[in-house]
Symmetry: C2
Subunit: 511 residues, 2 copies
Amino acid sequence: MSNDTLQLRRIAIDTYHENVAYLHRECGLYRAEGFQALSKIQVNVNGSKVLAVLNVVDDTAIVQPNELGLSEQAFAQLNATEGSLVTVDHAEPSTSMDAVRRKINGERLDQEDFTSITNDIVAARYSKMEMAAFLVATGQNNLDRDEMLYLTRAMLQSGDRMDWHEALVADKHCIGGIPGNRTSMLVVPIVAAHGMLIPKTSSRAITSPAGTADTMEMLAEVNLTPAQLHNIVRQERGCLAWGGTAKLAPVDDMLISVERPLGIDSQGQMVASILSKKLAAGSTHLIIDIPVGPTAKVRQMRQALALRKLFEFVADRLNIHLEVMITDGRQPVGRGIGPMLEARDVMQVLQNDPDAPADLRQKSLHLAGRIIEFDPDVRGGQGYAIARDILESGRALAKMNALIQAQGARSIDFHPSALCQEITADSEGVVIAIDNFQMAKIARLAGAPMMKKAGVDLLKKLGNSVKKGDVLYRIYAEFPADFKFAQQLAAHNNGYGIGNEEQMLTSPITF
Amino acid sequence: MSNDTLQLRRIAIDTYHENVAYLHRECGLYRAEGFQALSKIQVNVNGSKVLAVLNVVDDTAIVQPNELGLSEQAFAQLNATEGSLVTVDHAEPSTSMDAVRRKINGERLDQEDFTSITNDIVAARYSKMEMAAFLVATGQNNLDRDEMLYLTRAMLQSGDRMDWHEALVADKHCIGGIPGNRTSMLVVPIVAAHGMLIPKTSSRAITSPAGTADTMEMLAEVNLTPAQLHNIVRQERGCLAWGGTAKLAPVDDMLISVERPLGIDSQGQMVASILSKKLAAGSTHLIIDIPVGPTAKVRQMRQALALRKLFEFVADRLNIHLEVMITDGRQPVGRGIGPMLEARDVMQVLQNDPDAPADLRQKSLHLAGRIIEFDPDVRGGQGYAIARDILESGRALAKMNALIQAQGARSIDFHPSALCQEITADSEGVVIAIDNFQMAKIARLAGAPMMKKAGVDLLKKLGNSVKKGDVLYRIYAEFPADFKFAQQLAAHNNGYGIGNEEQMLTSPITF
């Protein structure tokens, strides 16, 4: 062992999107405290390097004085084995932090600034604090639309880009915030059955109770290699896969891991995040779904229109054909909230089950119809009828079954979790409000999306009449601790508003 | 063991101003991943609770599936022993984060907002990300002077407040950024020898190569209990102690731990930080030293004047008599940079050694003179002469020796570290610039302040003539790794500018 090296050790601690290094306080080679105040160190091994925040350790069972420990994330970034000899340096502050500080000062950044920032983030040179500083500095109304364009371009360039070698690659995306909104799982089979290319990659839920990837995973494999993905898309004209295996705009995922816990929701970040991901996925034609409602992300119609203009501005300059649909976001879509319950709703619609949730069916047909009208051979206004025909004829179900087989079918079991509580109405009247945010939180505490069969199943929706004691919804949970958390939250606020017909009709937003 | 509890375990990891909890991935009671995406959990034991960021562990040597581990910081905040039974809850987001988000939106916050934010920070309810969000949102020009007042008051109220029961309690503070600027260690003995009360508490260096507490610690104990502090001040009229044992404006230290690594330097935070600490220390009369120079924190005279007005505005409303002195910040003060070398300079001045650094002596006499003029019995303009008389007569040295004895003398050894490199001039001319920031960084890499005898000793100052090969300064280090880091930095940029006499005289700032 050379006299300025330490032995690399993998520390089995998952530090969630932040690199952490562990150095024993009695390390004879480097002064642990000296490094710590400076916040970050650089670990070098065999020509590769990684930056990490330093934790000082007083327990040789975790790390020995002659060792340098790295958290799982940091270790994975180094192409090295345990026991490799490493050296440690003071990390130079990322030069792009100068640009972040200029933004904090109120300056306008240019394309080069955004590119250097995203390059440093994707190389894991930013701590979570630094990412938070960037997000706050560029948050809310602090980015003009040109800067949104620069940020989108920089995020796009941070990763790989797919090329489908076709003139029309369709996609859809919802800005989120509405539980149960699993329209992609209906739109993709309908559009692919029409013959258009729709290679849909989706995210897993981060702070919501289910993502499309989590829900599709109830029916089929979603972790596909890029090669598998391409083969399935060539054969079936579509797919419903998890987007995480392809390295598409990776900086987006890293920023989201900081943005969500901070509860920062900035339009500039949203536009850049969505468009960079879609462009990286090779989309040429895109529908953006903006739900509006009192508990949706966008609460006023005028805000939805302003957001639409921003999407259009950036999309036009990045050569993607984009259309925005403003939709009803006053309540969850469908009945189930949670991967299994949402998969059940989707299959009911595909099977033309008379009990299938009508709102999920209608919304999906509208979205699919708009996408089908991207087809130059389809006459304007005919998309909806074509989509409905594909669904009612069973061709959408057949396409979904083909996708499931191609991706790898999983055994389907639509029995929810065993722990169940019914939440009932405490007065008579009409359901005049359902709080999207509260319902998502209850489902989340109940265990969704990690516990796939947990969640919330809505029995009453807006406009339904209820008597005192009628069941509004059921909570399903797998773990007693989760069950307790969800019950406590529902007891505190069950998320439903019961009133009279008149209150329902005077809702400020109508669709 | 009850069926919803885990056993508390202290994890010997120092996570530096952030609470971290460790849960085994296979914990049967709580789903570790479910908690992790939400970023923070609440750990409850015997009615007390602590919030922590969650790390998921895959190694039972660190934490067992039936245990809940806490980092040293988090464990210390719970009044509990290892093995205590704890429960875990989802942490409710701090309600004061709503105010932070309003600030991000560009709104103006009121006193109540700032109070709830500082209360949450001091109770360790903010993650570092959240503190970064607060600092960026309130950074740079985002606080008006009323908000600075509110923030100062809120930070003051976050901790204890000393009361000296005298009408005139003097203090001084420098805004920082100038290496070697150890005037407090001269001002305190002079002012105390005059008979004024000057109970000086200082910080340790965080990102600088030496703080007053680190330097005084070369000569005497500085970790004094509040009771010791009071006794010494009563007896000697002054002290030179570390401020960390008294809980004065504790939120300040927590914010600094995020602010410094981010390199954010906001005027509002600076004013609130300094004034809250001084008010908490019971000061009634305060001199603020604002050095100005091309590599000082304040680079232009007009910026110094604007900063002076902010200090005056807040101080006037919080009933502290404040005067600002704008001083020469074009180069380090004295010769030594690092605790031992700076202590040596101070003792040379006190001993009226003809080789003592003249700039440190002059500056300290000016500051002490201004403070002495706070004394109603001293005629305006006489302070400097009184201070000089106290120094030249040996009364300042006698007072310093009395303080050293009272605090607890330490054996003094002014031999620097053994590893030494001389940095020489590579051309003939006059020293026209010394970069404060670069000299601090070289001293810091060499090991200061943790390695007390490490640092930099300047042999040439502004205006000195040098020949090629003349020694500009010496680097001293204790550890080979530190020595290498410091040498590399000095080789890259030695921090000195050599030019001709004319360039020296056309410096844009003159004193």
